[in-house]
Symmetry: C2
């Protein structure tokens, strides 16, 4: 049988990262490839206790169909959590999603007709590219510097491409680890507001800052309703629960709700309640402090190992939080074939080309430091350094 | 701010049912509207115990990112479960989804370009219409009789419309409750195979038969790889877990996997493990027997009340399983305005027009009997009968 598939699939690739992750499951392999949070920091006992309390207290309600908007007490909690991040919103401005991946997918479907343009950082998050490719988007990169997107570049790009939105990860960007400072966020917001350009602000890592000062989200500046904020519990509780959320103007959420109903009716009733119970009844401050301290130590270990072991002319970023850093190799290095050989050296990374929607990026690699102990980071960087010297 | 939304949203409506369900939460309202399973039959204690065992045994693995294809032991269980339904398949033929709603959404995105035709029963499942509308499908109804779709109608429809697939619910169809007999399934399959027409077989209710003999799925006949089978644990464990699955040829699942990664990375790790643990370690035979017996009793109560109380010239279907029956009102009755008045009578149903993708259906209503006790069914039908006599 020869099947006729939809056109959107022509532009979509399987995730290299998810393929690499299969190799990563071998215990003698040290993986800097995935975007996995540290499983030893998952609050397994607290989640188990939360499951128990939820099912005792709510019984069959915790297992019945629920509203597509999300579990109301969770949305109420999220209003408070957003206020702590500097964003004032109401319950009606919060839509729960099945992880923030679904938020990106639904936002793509909400705004994009085939061929429509999305402005992005370059490089940008691989799975956002995939999500928007599902709506047959085209990608136009915005010039960046060490502080992220350059707002002055927007007017010309908007005039030329009529983009449906700008996608950005202002905190500890994936893959570069770069954070956009407050003054840059303001300049970006003001420029976008003048251009009536919608900003999708993806903030999965915002609470993972191990050094420096918190910078309020772009959404905190939003008086015009142009900013759509997305986040997740994947990095603060655990990714297996698949609970994320979107904060946006009600006009946008009215459309998103229709798409959410069609996509999966609603997010797991149990997962939503467990996330809510954990966030509202456990000591999340101590839990988050532990994650931050651990990721800070791991970043330091990786940075020190890279300094000690990598050949000359390699450079890398120095993120203040998050899970990744970004290595720039000397001119002439191609990290894609290098990755194939890295598998033989039992060390894994993601080659840069995966993060450039319009091609390029051969001389970069993304390294994850959240998923390995300092000892394994040291050993993994040694393996990587040996590979680079061969 | 005036937002520019994607074209697909023009054809998509909010679900009337999900709006009605908000009214249904008032305790003095008797709702025959939703498609809710009976919550008093949810295995709450067994699910709680399963959560506990899973988190003790697997710890952080139960909360980490997982493979997009689904949790392997669950896929292995599903291979066995499919064999019990008469379908031989392998683990590689099983894709786990976030409820069967996501299966429909992903299948739409897998096969449909804007304007492509889906063949359907008429009436058909409302949320399938919504899912396929998300891919800007057009719908062409296939003529039906009391045994479901009429295969002889297919060659002309295929020649005229080049449909990308035929969507059918052969067991206890939603909304009519009709079941397609074995010989009709064979004729349908053979006709479709000759036409190289893909069949999407949606089977959420197959295990809810309270009378008569099990009829094997169309997928059991499939030697050509043209049948895609979708089902869910929503009606056998509980819908709040959001775990469904697709069985199909590997060529199709390769594409579905790409769409699944982009849509939500994977289905909740916890929900998948809890579903697997419940199905493999609890007495599911007794549990299912209890659901079947209860739904049979409720169907009988509704059928008896309708016979006793409805005015003359009303007719309804006599399903052998599932959760719904379908009422045909006398010529001239319009159930849409009737529904507005039904709210005042504190009884709810879904007007027929919601189930006809190309319009029509004014004189029908769908009644759900799984979500009310026999006493409340009796009282609800009395309220409905009074409304119809006014």
């Amino acid at each position: 049988m020869e099947y006729l598939f939809a056109r959107r699939l022509e532009g979509m690739r399987r995730s290299t990262i998810r393929e690499i992750l299969k190799v990563a499951e071998q215990p003698d392999v040290i993986s800097f490839a995935g975007g996995l949070p540290a499983p030893e920091l998952f609050p397994v006992d607290a989640v188990r206790a939360a499951c128990d309390r939820v099912l005792i207290r709510e019984g069959s309600w915790a297992l019945q169909y629920g509203p597509s908007e999300g579990y109301t007490p969770l949305r109420e909690y999220l209003v408070e959590a957003m206020a702590q991040r500097g964003v004032a919103c109401r319950v009606e401005n919060v839509q729960v999603t099945s992880g923030s991946q679904q938020a990106l997918d639904l936002l793509g479907r909400c705004f994009l007709n085939p061929g429509d343009v999305v402005l992005t950082e370059n490089p940008t998050y691989l799975a956002a590219i995939q999500a928007f490719q599902g709506s047959e988007a085209r990608f136009v990169p915005v010039p960046t510097d060490d502080n992220g997107l350059i707002p002055e570049a927007l007017p010309e790009l908007v005039a030329k491409h009529q983009p449906r939105f700008l996608y950005t990860i202002p905190n500890f960007q994936n893959p570069t680890g770069i954070t956009m400072p407050a003054e840059r966020r303001r300049a970006l917001y003001e420029t976008a507001a003048k251009l009536s350009l919608v900003i999708v602000e993806d903030d999965p890592y915002g609470l993972l800052r191990y050094t420096g000062e918190h910078v309020p989200p772009i959404k905190a500046l939003d008086t015009e309703g142009i900013v759509i904020y997305a986040s997740t519990f994947s990095k603060t509780i655990a990714p297996g629960l698949r609970v994320g959320w979107v904060v946006a103007d009600r006009q946008i959420l009215d459309k998103l709700l229709i798409l959410k109903q069609a996509a999966d009716l609603h997010t797991s009733s149990l997962d939503q309640r467990v996330a809510c119970e954990f966030m509202t009844s456990c000591d999340t401050t101590a839990h988050l402090a532990q994650i931050r301290a651990s990721y800070g130590t791991r970043y330091q270990a990786m940075d020190a190992a890279l300094r000690a072991l990598l050949p000359e002319r390699y450079q890398w970023t120095h993120p203040e939080g998050g899970m990744f850093l970004w290595v720039t190799c000397p001119e002439g290095v191609d990290t894609w074939p290098l990755m194939q050989r890295a598998v033989e050296h039992k060390v894994l990374f993601v080659p840069g080309c995966d993060f450039f929607p319009e091609g390029g990026g051969d001389r970069y690699m993304r390294l994850n430091f959240s998923n390995s102990t300092p000892e394994r980071i040291q050993e993994g960087v040694a393996r990587l350094a040996q590979l680079l010297r061969e």
